[in-house]
Point group: C2
Chain length 420, copies 2
């Protein structure tokens, strides 16, 4: 059982700008206080003083797996199943290639190959883009991409039958915050002989993730949202041990055969030979400064109780929904986009409103920072480690005042510019 003092103590470990209510930790997590010193030490001592020796003395050489193992503990995976590397987009690229490789020799009832890849049309676009790019790149494999609405997911999986190669979903919808049932969907997909790839962008460090308990095949995700690993933090890729073993047994090549995926990168041999295990997913020289920031955040998370975080997240999101709906009851254009049922919700709350963009700008002008997603979604991320119950009360109050006063109805709030 956790108490408020548990979270009050954690809040002290983050740098929160004074006067800001930050509800955008699902886009860019805040700065842990320990990070600045760790990055400075990496720059000044490891790079500045120790220079090239740090590849050994500071263990730079093993960062993809050392940091990967810390990632692993936060997602219910084992050491050796996760690599920290590259970006989510590039890891999706590797994961799809790996799924196709694993399906290469799968037995089917007919002679036609397993070539169907299913995803949610509302999945985060980069996942869909990478699949489209691979379809074009590997034209002869004749990938059959089926991007459908969530409501059609189950029947689409059934319809593909034994032509299904891979289903790729983001567990929590980045717009609505709606959550898939990881265990159920994974089992359904696997019942067709297909593989399941989860994108954990809005899951990791938002609530407990149990990849191996759900028998997940592949997963990817980023380090800069709920993880608090910093802007552009190295992403991760998870591949279940059983598949790593098969890839090794099949002598499968690394999906992108850079020198960090070589069995002996510092032997500088001209012939590529894939290293065994999760290191096959490394490619090039790891970004050491970003890794230092990311590792600091992961080490902090390893001291947190993710079950307590989940409980508190549900309390905060329930409270925010209740307060907004009560205060804004006279503004029926504002409607809840996030499921009310706990098991169908991630750690964000989204409301729709036709003037959502301008309303969000008005909130940001009051230092209540959420974000907007086209066409009409106001998105609020809830991060119990640094968000207080008072923040929730005040955020709901600000939103109500902005609607009541039509404060959003000003030209400067309607000019759109790039936001993430």
């Amino acid at each position: 059982m956790t108490t408020n003092s548990y979270f009050d103590a954690f809040r002290e470990r983050f740098h929160i700008p004074i006067g800001t209510i930050y509800l955008d930790g699902n886009s860019l997590g805040v700065l842990p206080k320990a990070t600045a010193a760790r990055v400075a030490d990496t720059v000044e001592r490891e790079w500045g003083n120790d220079l090239i020796r740090s590849w050994n003395s500071a263990d730079w050489i093993n960062t993809p797996t050392r940091v990967g193992d810390k990632y692993a503990r936060l997602m219910g995976a084992n050491a050796g199943e996760v690599a920290a590397c590259d970006t989510t987009s590039i890891n999706v690229f590797k994961a799809i290639l790996t799924a196709l490789e694993l399906q290469k020799n799968t037995k089917r009832n007919t002679n036609t190959p397993r070539n169907v890849l299913i995803s949610d049309i509302d999945n985060f676009p980069t996942d869909l883009y990478i699949a489209q790019g691979l379809k074009a790149l590997l034209a002869e494999r004749n990938l059959d991409l089926r991007f459908v609405k969530r409501e059609q997911m189950s029947e689409t999986i059934d319809a593909a039958g034994d032509r299904l190669a891979l289903v790729m979903l983001t567990e929590v919808d980045y717009r609505t915050g709606e959550r898939y049932d990881m265990k159920r969907v994974t089992a359904h997909v696997q019942s067709k002989g297909a593989l399941m790839l989860w994108d954990l962008a809005h899951s990791l460090c938002a609530f407990p993730v149990a990849l191996n308990d759900c028998n997940v095949d592949l997963a990817v995700g980023c380090g800069y949202k709920y993880v608090n690993g910093g802007p552009g933090a190295p992403a991760f890729i998870f591949v279940a041990k059983r598949h790593l073993d098969r890839l090794d047994a099949m002598n499968s090549p690394a999906p992108i055969s850079g020198w960090f995926a070589h069995e002996a990168p510092f032997a500088f041999q001209p012939e590529f030979k894939t290293i065994r295990g999760i290191k096959r997913f490394s490619v090039g020289t790891p970004p050491i400064l970003q890794m230092a920031a990311l590792e600091t955040a992961l080490e902090m998370w390893l001291t947190a109780d993710l079950n307590a975080v989940r409980e508190q997240s549900l309390r905060l999101t329930d409270d925010f929904i209740r307060r907004v709906e009560w205060h804004c009851r006279d503004y029926p254009l504002l409607t809840l986009a996030t499921p009310r049922e706990h098991e169908r919700r991630g750690s964000q709350v989204s409301f729709r409103h036709p003037e959502g963009y301008a309303i969000m700008q008005a909130l940001i002008a009051r230092n209540v920072i959420g974000d907007f997603r086209a066409p009409d979604i106001l998105r609020f991320g809830f991060t119990p480690l640094y968000l207080s119950e008072a923040d929730v009360v005040n955020a709901a109050q600000h939103l109500a005042e902005i609607l009541a006063t039509r404060e959003w109805d000003q030209p400067e709030f309607k000019m759109k510019h790039a936001v993430t």
Copy 2:
């Protein structure tokens, strides 16, 4: 005309550990003094205080092209021809795919496709590995990889004739420091209707590079060696404007179709549409902390005179060769691996010795830091901005003493471990 005071002033802008003679800037460049403050500001103000707003207010969103444009000025390229992104390995992957795309519709005398890719068997291995990986991935394209010794390069290009698609070389050999003639080789390759891809890992900021003057098609390289951009700095990819225009005209897809290569990444549309120009080579979210360190280094380089750097590099390397050969004249097992002719030399000097590994360890124990490359190469990088003439005198003296005293002949200098 430059004077010693020119370089003395530059040396003050770097953090050089006291007592160290650093001859490994061709593996990891030293820390510019301005970098620590810039990285700290990025962590504490841009991330810590301004949070998500920094995507606009600190222009995070444009880092791949903003930093790319600064890279461009150091390699004789124009704004809009270079993107700062990912690792060298991943950029080689994109560059080869782009070459194949550009060759797709090339007219030939026969019906067989242009499918020959030539490289130097002594090229840095990751470039060779990526080509091998792409051959396996794109099996139906039947890539014909021909990795040959430098001495066979010219005849191999001639023999491939109009089957030649691409030649991929690193301008300066990472082991010997021998330099290709960029202009001549590029013209030879293009006379066959093929494309030329240069890896500038040991060229950029080592001497003036003039890609457009040499009519180069494609180039890649890293930011952590002579550039001083920090460990794991974002790499770059150059594609000549004429090819970018053709890719746009052909509606060619991005080589790795992540959301940063989309024409409107923040519109979150499910269908991938490649953005025009160099941005098609971006993939995922840029690593903002690494970009800050890299940009600081590039800005420093933009105030330097690369012709003066080259003159000084030749003075220092000439002097080092002369002094080592004189002091070590009684040790004929030590032989020069680097060409004596200026135009065939990069900015490093390599000597061969059967006990090269142990000798280098003995040098490092004396704080003279170079590195070793199998099987027998002692490698010394020369970086005039922070290396003095006294350093050269002293380094040669240390090497001579180690040979004279057989100081290298100790067990602890013979145990090999990973070095880069």
